[in-house]
Symmetry: D2
Subunit: 296 residues, 4 copies
Amino acid sequence: MKVGFIGLGNMGTPMAKNLAGAGHELTVWNRTASKAEPLKQQGARVAKTPADAARDAEVVVSMLADDHAAEAAVLGQDGIVSALPRNAIHVSSSTISVALSERLTKAHTDAGQGYVSAPVFGRPEAAAGKQLWVVAAGPKAQVERARPLLTALGRGLTELGERPSAANTVKLSGNFLIASMMEALSEAFALAEKCGVERAAFLDVFKSVFAKAPIFENYAGAIAKGQYTPAGFALRLGLKDVSLALEAGRAAEVPLPLASLLRDHFLTGVAQGRGDEDWSALGALAQERAGIEPKG
Amino acid sequence: MKVGFIGLGNMGTPMAKNLAGAGHELTVWNRTASKAEPLKQQGARVAKTPADAARDAEVVVSMLADDHAAEAAVLGQDGIVSALPRNAIHVSSSTISVALSERLTKAHTDAGQGYVSAPVFGRPEAAAGKQLWVVAAGPKAQVERARPLLTALGRGLTELGERPSAANTVKLSGNFLIASMMEALSEAFALAEKCGVERAAFLDVFKSVFAKAPIFENYAGAIAKGQYTPAGFALRLGLKDVSLALEAGRAAEVPLPLASLLRDHFLTGVAQGRGDEDWSALGALAQERAGIEPKG
Amino acid sequence: MKVGFIGLGNMGTPMAKNLAGAGHELTVWNRTASKAEPLKQQGARVAKTPADAARDAEVVVSMLADDHAAEAAVLGQDGIVSALPRNAIHVSSSTISVALSERLTKAHTDAGQGYVSAPVFGRPEAAAGKQLWVVAAGPKAQVERARPLLTALGRGLTELGERPSAANTVKLSGNFLIASMMEALSEAFALAEKCGVERAAFLDVFKSVFAKAPIFENYAGAIAKGQYTPAGFALRLGLKDVSLALEAGRAAEVPLPLASLLRDHFLTGVAQGRGDEDWSALGALAQERAGIEPKG
Amino acid sequence: MKVGFIGLGNMGTPMAKNLAGAGHELTVWNRTASKAEPLKQQGARVAKTPADAARDAEVVVSMLADDHAAEAAVLGQDGIVSALPRNAIHVSSSTISVALSERLTKAHTDAGQGYVSAPVFGRPEAAAGKQLWVVAAGPKAQVERARPLLTALGRGLTELGERPSAANTVKLSGNFLIASMMEALSEAFALAEKCGVERAAFLDVFKSVFAKAPIFENYAGAIAKGQYTPAGFALRLGLKDVSLALEAGRAAEVPLPLASLLRDHFLTGVAQGRGDEDWSALGALAQERAGIEPKG
């Protein structure tokens, strides 16, 4: 396929290489031109502007740092929208805002062009090793045409429906999950350390109990299903245990703000009559805060 | 070994069965006597009080619901301390407070008895299937003597040093990690749902990207090591992404209190000059809040 | 009146002096005896134990540092309960827990003694200047008999019903309000300072707009009444303004965790259909979290 | 003075009336023209566009609902910037973002026009009664020329230096203080109510102890000064009291998220060695989070 590739940073470069390696014909662009050198040596044409890279493409893939860079490359002067042929497709893999994704959708649609949002999960090493996970959303026919590229980038693909910005929501939610786990680990390590537990020992427990076991997967399934009775572990026991963690933190002088937040949510659950439901009923509380009607 | 077993609830019963199955000679006690019936049929003797179950034991294992129940069974009238032979060991598997664990340590030590704290990770099914993970702490010689029992309960064991309450800290920290992941998932599902993403699709992404991949393990390792440079993903990008999630939440009217907390911590990191460190430097912030001096 | 006074710290000493100055006959006790010297010079008898101070008293007033000290002085060996005559009254002014206040109520009642909880608002200077505000709760007849003492301590008295611990709840809630205002001011000063506003200028605005104006009083009245329509200032405007404060904080690199909490609550209000109510409908959200049925 | 007035909502109308009443010659504009009727009857000229209202003015005052409305009226087609004479001044009283205020400053400066930011504190009744408090910032000479208008709007004025956006920061910070107090009151009322305290009684305490007393003013002064020793009330006592409030909340099943946040901050203070400083050292913690060096 004739492919334009916009954005050759730590992520973009290995992604572009994988597309070239899969036999696609690449025209690449990067703001700092020198970064295009490795791709050029691999046979890619180097464009002067995003528009140049888009002009003859069937699909343009972009991988840019933030909203600012993405907006400039797509909607700015000599941007992708100005040159991409009608019916050609822009596959946007950047981690950008839902709002910008919706503006890009409109701009491309108005220009008779296709737009698929396809952010990826994984660090540069994963990109290099074709181990990214791609989440893609957009009109079905367009996702279909882009599929050979999407599958050349990583180890798997989840399709998220026809509305492109849904993929951005999921990418942002995924990074939020990672950051949450890091915060939880950060607080837990601080507590453990100040209570005299070796960091290496706590890490060993984490690896053994959590990291590869289906525990998080099981809870994710429970929350997805929204069925909180019968309780495997009652919410009021969750309140008890997180309160004990906070007491231990007070005694050892270790603030645990995430534990405080959990305590407030568990206590809200108890006050609202959910004490005997499963502790995963945190999911129901989040829905209620958001004004989502429970299913069923 | 001659083993007393105190507490035959959803967890205690399968644990006791596994000990009996491993060839140990059990005397069991439960507040509601009828629950001892299954063990009795498996050949266990049924005691009238915790003291009765402890009187002739080499090791007493207890698995009780909370501080209140544990305190009564150990320190109360006809409690374990009153009858356990000198040099015999109490292995406490209940999820209790650090403070109570320290009081039990003292009471047993004063009585010339051993005390090993050995809480377990896993639900009743895991207990039945010998799939618990045990975290044990106490004097080395005592842990050694209890080892045949500890390994008969589950699939693995992490030893956490000589101070029994360290194991309680780790158990509480583990439950805190689970609750944190559930809260994060709850908020993420609410956001995804209100943005039009099917719950099943989001669950699929979670399973593919997070649940069995080494991602959490890798970050846990980074935080344990405390090395935040060079950055794989910069803290200021973490601030960007969590801010975008909050913006999406505002637009869709989905409050994300855990994301707000993360935003404040990332912003603190940026304000304090850590914007170019890895986003796992959340670990350094938690240490500083706790007054822990950074290593190295 | 014959009065025992227990606890001669920064608060207790000026309070005791005011009682002596109002003509009451004092017997005082303090753990560190030397602190009783000023009262002795004013004519007070110095007791060896709390029991000694209580033995002949019509009323014993106590002003101690915390739960630990209060429990020891009342329920411990040679404590107040052991010696106070039947029908005499213990007026407890210490800032102690609701739970301990309820235990003290029971102990005194069981002993045929009276118990009035009467914590005070104000610092040592206010105590010295008879400017404390007293909040009292307990059986009506007992409060009546203690009234001459309660009014001798300060500038005013609010009666809070027959259940003594209610006064402790109100005292703790009051300190919580002060701490909340301090946190809000702390964050606001940090934001102002980093945005180039002189601290003195911001203080001037605070004094002029808030400190003596009826603004907080008006909002307190609105929340007490629980009437949130018609809106004077709509909740969705509250969301707008607190979001703008957070944006300003992000630009200036000033984390505002209390503002984040407010944003989440306002956004919850909007998501749950309260966007057009007055922003004081935060009061309704707090009630719902606590499972309190709205009046009406 | 010849004055243009833009925005005749609940706040703008009484403000404009006061300017007319003070003898200024008004040309008014409002998006919905019918709202200009009352001013017209008071002798004001009604303009067709913001530009019309600005064309002959010495000063244009604007009071608009949000960033969107303000941006349109100032920078949009037929906006203020397009017609205001050189050296005439735009006084912007709207509650807008710091970022927009900075863009308006630049636009007016580039056009050779003056720009003073002058948001106001007070509700419509206060506007009608000339009881607003004005916070103004901008080049000294321009503030001087606008002074007759600023003083005709309210009961007082605080000047905040030469950078206009500083006044927006202070206005947003002020609304943040109000919302914080409302949240604190909301949680305190919920706790009091569920503990059996009449709302009216708690309101009485609030009015007596806080609303008109100098307590908040005193703490604001302490935080402004940043002197936290010697302690009037030690930070570790603040931790104690807020922890007791949380315990009471747990017993009564009342979540207190603001109290949780305070607990975390007090505990951080204790862990970092500030336990014996005054509890207003919350101010120092806020500075440190923001990377502000303490004054010395």
